[in-house]
């Protein structure tokens, strides 16, 4: 286990081996906050310590992934509940500092072939890297060999700029891009090859919206390579790699076997001669129409209703299948009498967009996203909302989608979206929760490396339950948690509760069901949750927490009617609080058997009291009876004396 060293020097010793100096913050590495670290053993090697906040859900797979073109994750360690990853230093500066100008053969030997191998290996492991961008690629001094930063340390594609993302994820906000496919990585690789070949980033200086607009207008390959001096031998390769249709991009296997001037054929995209006008923009391709449909949904739906779209597809692009599908989609504008919760207009637009561009992400509720990323979007909206409504929007989408997956599954969405939605609803069913709680729990459920998102402990990056317990134990004082707040909302906030419950559920224990929780005061439910976590994860004593709960539990002791039993339990409570074992602490008060026994004894005592009272009331009657008895016994006594006297007299008379 990790422990802290002298706090004032801002150093952390983790795994009793690596000393992280928090003073020496390094430039972000792989998209994470990074610090210098030193191996304390004889080797004295220097490392980089990464502090990921919300790493990929599949980080554990990435940790075991090794490839010569990727900087490996040396080790991982939890320190005070926070995850630290240790990586070796990169061989040199990142490409973001200086791209340089690479020749075709340098590119093939130093970038394309190794990365194709990497992608092949990743594909075999069913992973994607989604972090091919200049600031995450490092090149050794004087070498023409590129190494990628550690994989999986951020949410997939979260740090990618729009330039390096294929259209199928570039339209989404960074948190909504998802794991994507190997094709997405091929695209990013294509962009980096282009940048290295021309010595600068394409479309430099344009804003994200402009870049997207240009790419939709004339296609990404044309937008990126227009007016650039691209080596002739790479031109066909790059055109294929940057293709907007993922099916046109080469596979990693094609790239491994690449030779100079290898020719790739791409089915050309034929733009319409007469554009369709939407929102003041001329649209030439169905993909572009899909994107603009998301930007101007009202106009798009009116176009749909007037059958302008289907006519345009049919007449200009000769896509008769797509046209008839669109027509079918717009037919369902009529109220179908289906579920009232689904806004038919949005659902129709979602459907129409998926028909226009099957590779596009889902458009629903006004945003573009991949369904699998909803938990990650939730995290992002909770931690750093782009706008105040963000959280509400995402929450509504997530809870609706988890609850009404049928509405989406019946809407003939592309296969990838369907799979993701059914996975999402399956996860929701497994959690067996509802409403806000489900939404809060989802991110933790999907990503076990996720830190607790509570506003209070966000900075501590706590991603293991015992870490949260220790944090709570340290932050339970009256200044952190005023009495009235403790009485009202308990020890935990909702995020902490979801976090702990998820980890409990992962271990197969269910601390308290909802119905049980309903009857308890918040702090008591929290305490029992904490006790369950403490027992399960064999955590250190939590005496501060217990001391804080002591007055509350002592008040709860009133349930015991016996005074001596209360006093005894109070003493036991105090001892348990000192020991910090919450389970014992809670069991002292939460003891149904003892309570029942106590109540039975109390009833018996009440019966005895009333019995004794009756005895006291009957005293006068008994007194009369006693008097009679006394008289009788007196007479009996005097009779005996009389007999004795008579016998004595006879004895005196006859025997003397």
């Amino acid at each position: 286990m990790a422990d802290t060293q002298a706090d004032n020097s801002q150093e952390l010793l983790i795994a009793e081996r690596y000393l992280i100096s928090l003073d020496h913050k390094q430039p972000d590495f792989g998209g994470c906050a990074t610090y210098g670290a030193q191996d304390m053993t004889a080797s004295g090697a220097s490392y980089l310590a990464l502090a990921p906040f919300a790493p990929s859900a599949r980080l554990s797979e990435f940790m075991f992934f090794r490839h010569e073109s990727v900087i490996p994750i040396q080790t991982h360690e939890y320190c005070q509940g926070a995850l630290w990853l240790l990586c070796p230093h990169p061989p040199g500066p990142s490409l973001a500092e200086s791209l340089g100008l690479w020749t075709e053969s340098q590119l093939i030997d130093g970038v394309i072939r190794p990365f194709a191998g990497l992608l092949q290996k990743l594909e075999a492991a069913n992973l994607t890297c989604r972090s091919i961008r200049p600031d995450n690629m490092f090149v050794g001094q004087g070498l023409h060999k590129v190494v990628l930063g550690p994989l999986g340390v951020t949410a997939p594609a979260e740090k990618q700029s729009v330039l390096f993302e294929p259209l199928s994820s570039a339209v989404c906000r960074p948190s909504a891009r998802g794991e994507g496919t190997t094709d997405c990585d091929i695209f990013s690789l294509g962009v980096i090859i282009l940048a290295l070949a021309i010595g600068k980033l394409p479309l430099e200086g344009l804003s994200d919206a402009d870049i997207l607009k240009r790419r939709f207008e004339i296609g990404t390959p044309a937008a990126y390579m227009q007016d650039q001096k691209v080596p002739v031998g790479l031109r066909s390769l790059l055109t294929a790699m940057l293709a907007d249709d993922p099916h046109n991009r080469p596979s990693p296997r094609d790239l491994v076997t690449i030779a100079p001037s290898k020719v790739f054929t791409v089915r050309p995209v034929i733009p319409a001669r007469i554009p369709l006008m939407i929102g003041g923009n001329a649209v030439h391709t169905p993909q572009a129409l899909a994107w603009y449909a998301g930007r101007h949904p009202a106009e798009f739906s009116s176009l749909l209703q007037r059958k302008v779209v289907s006519n345009w597809l049919h007449g200009e692009l000769e896509l008769s299948v797509m046209a008839s599908l669109i027509e079918q989609a717009s037919a369902s504008f009529l109220p179908a009498g289906g579920s009232k919760a689904v806004d038919p207009a949005t659902m129709v637009i979602t459907h129409a967009i998926s028909v226009l561009d099957p590779a596009a992400p889902m458009f629903w509720g006004g945003i573009w996203f991949w369904p699998e990323t909803l938990p990650q979007m939730m995290v992002q909206a909770t931690v750093r909302p782009d706008n105040p409504d963000d959280e509400r929007t995402v929450r509504n989408i997530l809870s609706f989608m988890a609850g009404n997956s049928d509405a989406f599954l019946s809407a003939h969405l592309p296969q990838r979206q369907r799979q993701q939605i059914s996975a999402l609803s399956g996860a929701a069913r497994r959690m067996a929760l509802k409403g806000a709680e489900l939404v809060r729990r989802f991110p933790y459920e999907e990503n076990s490396f996720l830190s607790c998102l509570s506003k209070k402990c966000l900075d501590a990056r706590i991603s293991v339950p015992e870490g949260l317990l220790q944090w709570l134990n340290r932050h339970v004082g009256i200044e952190d948690l005023p009495d009235d707040m403790l009485a009202r909302s308990g020890f935990l906030d909702e995020q902490m509760r979801s976090f702990l419950e998820m980890h409990c559920a992962r271990q197969g224990i269910i601390p308290l069901s909802q119905s049980q929780k309903a009857g308890l005061p918040g702090w008591l439910a929290d305490l029992s949750l904490l006790a369950a976590v403490q027992r399960k994860f064999d955590s250190a004593p939590l005496s501060f927490l217990a001391q804080r709960a002591l007055p509350l539990l002592e008040a709860e002791l009133c349930q015991w009617r016996s005074k001596s039993s209360r006093a005894r339990r109070r003493v036991r409570l105090g001892k348990a609080a000192e020991n910090g074992n919450l389970g014992v602490f809670l069991a002292t008060v939460n003891d149904p058997t003892g309570l029942r026994l106590d109540q039975r004894q109390a009833q018996e005592a009440e019966a005895e009291i009333s019995n004794l009272m009756r005895v006291l009331d009957e005293a006068p009657e008994r007194k009369a009876a006693n008097d009679r008895e006394a008289r009788n016994s007196g007479e009996f006594f005097s009779l005996l004396t009389g007999i004795a006297v008579a016998m004595a007299s006879i004895w005196l008379e006859f025997c003397q």
Binding site: C558, R561, S564, A630, S633, E653
Partner: protein, 156 residues
């Protein structure tokens, strides 16, 4: 003396007397009139008690009988020894000491009976007081143990 005996006989004619009582009495009167006289005179305190004390039931009379009997032993023995000689019998019943003892015996019987009744009553009262005290103590303990939570009843 005869009138006294009649009075005695009249007083004793109460339910419970059978015809054979009369026969025994007649036989004794005819064979040992002296002894009967002594017994009759010495039993006078009982008659008096019977007459004057309405509370005097059979049991009380029985007690007095034993005490009076104790006094009667000597004169009757004398009378028996003298074969019921009239003179001796008269001498016996005219002895003031005997008479005084006889009456004192009746008084003593009454006194002992009353005194022991009073003693018994006092003893009972003491026992009852002690019992009451222990019951009250027990009630106080139970109330303290089980009822004192009422002022601080749980809020939940």
């Amino acid at each position: 003396m005869a009138s006294v005996r009649q009075a005695e006989a009249g007083t004793l004619r109460a339910p419970g007397f059978r015809w054979w009582h009369g026969i025994i009495f007649g036989l004794m009167l005819s064979y040992v009139p002296g002894s009967l006289l002594v017994a009759g005179v010495l039993l006078l305190p009982m008659v008096a008690l019977r007459l004057f004390d309405p509370n005097a039931d059979g049991q009380r009379l029985m007690i007095v009988l034993f005490y009076v009997g104790a006094v009667m032993v000597h004169p009757l023995h004398e009378a028996w020894a003298a074969n019921g000689d009239w003179e001796t019998c008269i001498a016996q019943i005219t002895q003031p000491v005997t008479l005084a003892l006889d009456w004192l015996a009746a008084g003593a019987a009454w006194l002992v009976a009353e005194a022991s009744a009073i003693g018994g009553r006092l003893w009972n009262a003491e026992v009852a007081r002690r019992e009451r005290k222990s019951i009250e103590k027990r009630i106080a303990y139970l109330q303290d143990e089980w009822m004192s939570s009422d002022e601080g009843a749980p809020a939940s």
